[in-house]
């Protein structure tokens, strides 16, 4: 028996590991192993591909190109993934997703070039290749923009311009027309410069990805990345059809389908429909007059009350129940270890401390749990929104550390607000509220927070890490 006949079997095993991996990743106990099982399956599949007849027909050239690509890509991926800060995880996922989309587009391009270059290609294969190319390229450039927005390289605000729909429609229509033109030319040898048309489609698809993501505000990026992740899956599946490779079809479709579900779950956690994210004007809301520091006084005369670390520490030290509400500010300042120290200190004084985790605290669902776990904060202490909201009225102090939009009562009460309807943490129901924040700047959604004007709220301005360290010193002294 030719050992090569085992390759499809190896691919089947890999496909099974991917299903098991996804299944594992959806439960806390099985997640770590799920990820590793899928990685093992991946390694197996790549190893088997070295023995593929087609691959071996390329001889040394194919081997050299592949080896060089594996080394360069592997090193870039590994180093990037190891070095990235926990706070920058979301944009890193966007980057890797874009890489996958780009790879899928290139695979479709190369297979089409081979067909057009003399190997022969049917109209059906052409359409499938164009699908893989378009979806992959959209995912590539869209992910790049999402990365840029989260990294702060481009404005995270929704970028709106006149004639936006026209531009998007023209780009979309152009891709379709050119793709059909290419298919027609394959079918009946109509004289068009085929490679030029293909390149045109690729460029239009890249522009379309940019046009798709630019008008979406930074706060919605998690949903966008998840959606683009599903896109890449579909592009991979399309490439699988082009190459006649079942494993690519299975893996790509799995990600496409589960990614769609996940996108829906995420947008539901933020109480927004996917269509709303894609076409809404979330980030475009007027942002408190535009002054850099934000207003210290509301129009109706309510003012922001500032406090000192000593006063805040005393409040905490003599409380019975404290709920800590961590947000992106904590993540940026890397204050999780100081927060743990403060919580330990309070607990040693008999204060009951829990953490309230909003589903999208930080920048992404689950992001905050990762950071707090890094500081060895026990998992049982982390309460999710539905469990913790009824606890706020019983809390003596709610300590908000660098969280903003997820605590904004406007989501409950102000119909016109862009975040109206978003589920929030009911921080304003606590007896006393201490907010640690660097300045009065609005949060990611670009809107002011009514919580800061609440008479029960005291603001402790400063970097989260320094402020918490001062609180620790203050509690020790009291």
């Amino acid at each position: 028996m030719d050992l090569r006949s085992l390759i499809p079997l190896t691919y089947l095993i890999a496909a099974v590991t991917f299903v098991l991996g996804l299944k594992g990743l959806s439960g806390p106990k099985t997640a770590v192993n799920g990820n590793r099982i899928a990685a093992a399956g991946m390694l197996l599949a790549v190893g088997a591909t070295f023995f593929d007849v087609e691959f071996q027909s390329y001889g040394t050239t194919g081997l050299l190109v592949t080896a060089a690509g594996l080394v360069v890509g592997g090193a870039a991926g590994f180093v990037g993934a190891r070095l990235v800060k926990m706070t920058a995880m979301p944009q890193m996922v966007a980057l890797f997703n874009g890489a996958g989309g780009g790879a899928a587009a290139l695979v479709s391009i190369l297979e089409l070039m081979r067909g057009l270059g003399g190997a022969g290609v049917t109209p059906g294969e052409t359409i499938t290749s164009m699908l893989g190319l378009i979806i992959g390229a959209v995912s590539f450039s869209g992910s790049a923009i999402a990365f840029g927005k989260l990294q702060g390289l481009i404005t995270p605000r929704a970028f709106k311009y006149g004639g936006q729909q026209i531009v998007t429609s023209v780009l979309f229509g152009g891709m379709i027309v050119l793709s059909l033109l290419l298919t027609a030319s394959v079918a009946s040898t109509v004289g068009v410069p085929q490679l030029a048309v293909m390149t045109g489609v690729a460029l239009l698809a890249l522009l379309f990805g940019v046009a798709l993501v630019m008008p979406i505000g930074g706060a919605d990026m998690p949903v966008v990345i998840s959606l683009l992740n599903a896109f890449t899956g579909l592009a991979v599946a399309a490439a699988g059809f082009v190459l006649g490779n079942q494993l690519l079809i299975v893996a790509g479709t799995l990600v496409g389908a589960s990614g769609t579900i996940l996108t829906r779950l995420m947008s539901k956690a933020m109480n927004r429909s996917i269509a709303n994210v894609l076409f809404g004007a979330f980030g475009a809301a007027p942002a408190g007059g535009g002054e850099v520091g934000g207003p210290m006084r509301a129009d109706d005369g309510r003012t922001v009350r500032e406090t000192t670390a000593e006063d805040a520490a005393t409040l905490l030290a003599y409380a019975r129940n404290v709920i800590i509400v961590p947000g992106y500010g904590l993540a940026v300042a890397q204050a999780q270890h100081n927060v743990r120290e403060l919580a330990d200190l309070l607990e040693s004084r008999g204060v009951n401390v829990v953490y309230a985790i909003h589903p999208v605290a930080g920048r992404m669902p689950g992001h905050m749990n990762v950071l707090l776990a890094e500081a060895n904060i026990p998992y049982e202490k982390l309460m999710d929104m539905d469990a913790v909201n009824p606890e706020f009225p019983r809390a003596d102090v709610a300590l908000v550390i660098g969280a903003n939009d997820v605590t904004n009562p406007a989501a409950r009460s102000t119909k016109g607000s862009p975040i109206y309807g978003m589920p929030i943490l009911d921080v304003d129901k606590a007896q006393q509220i201490i907010v640690i924040k660097r300045s009065m700047k609005p949060g990611f959604a670009g809107i002011d927070n009514d919580l800061y004007l609440d008479p029960k709220t005291q603001m402790l301005f400063g970097d989260a890490k320094e402020a918490v360290a001062k609180l620790v010193a203050g509690v020790k002294a009291s």
Binding site: F18, L25, P28, V32, Y58, T66, G69, L70, L95, L262
Partner: protein, 98 residues
């Protein structure tokens, strides 16, 4: 339609159902790691990249092939490593915390 295309279509449709079913009820804590893990899985495109790496040839063809492998590998390796880091909190800690 060719048999290969039909088989592919079967696989495609069935995989849609598996994909939908396999991740019902995910706690929101796991949304990001799950997305990241799925992200790594579509890195399987790297084997597609290998299979076309030298299909076209010539400087441009080989360059495109090289980039396809680079991007695919970065997707796989980066995706799995990042996911593993995200899942740190679910790992068993030897000897419990101090």
């Amino acid at each position: 339609m060719s048999t290969e295309a039909i088989v592919g279509l079967y696989v495609f449709v069935l995989a849609i159902f598996v994909g939908f079913e396999v991740i019902s009820k995910v706690p929101s804590t796991l949304h990001t790691p799950l997305m990241s893990g799925a992200n790594a899985i579509h890195g399987i495109i790297v084997i597609g990249a290998m299979l076309v790496s030298a299909a076209v040839g010539g400087p441009l063809g080989l360059l495109l092939g090289f980039f396809a492998v680079v991007l695919g590998t970065a997707n796989v390796v980066g995706g799995f490593v990042v996911t593993d880091r995200m899942l740190a909190m679910f790992k068993q800690k030897p000897g419990q915390r101090k």
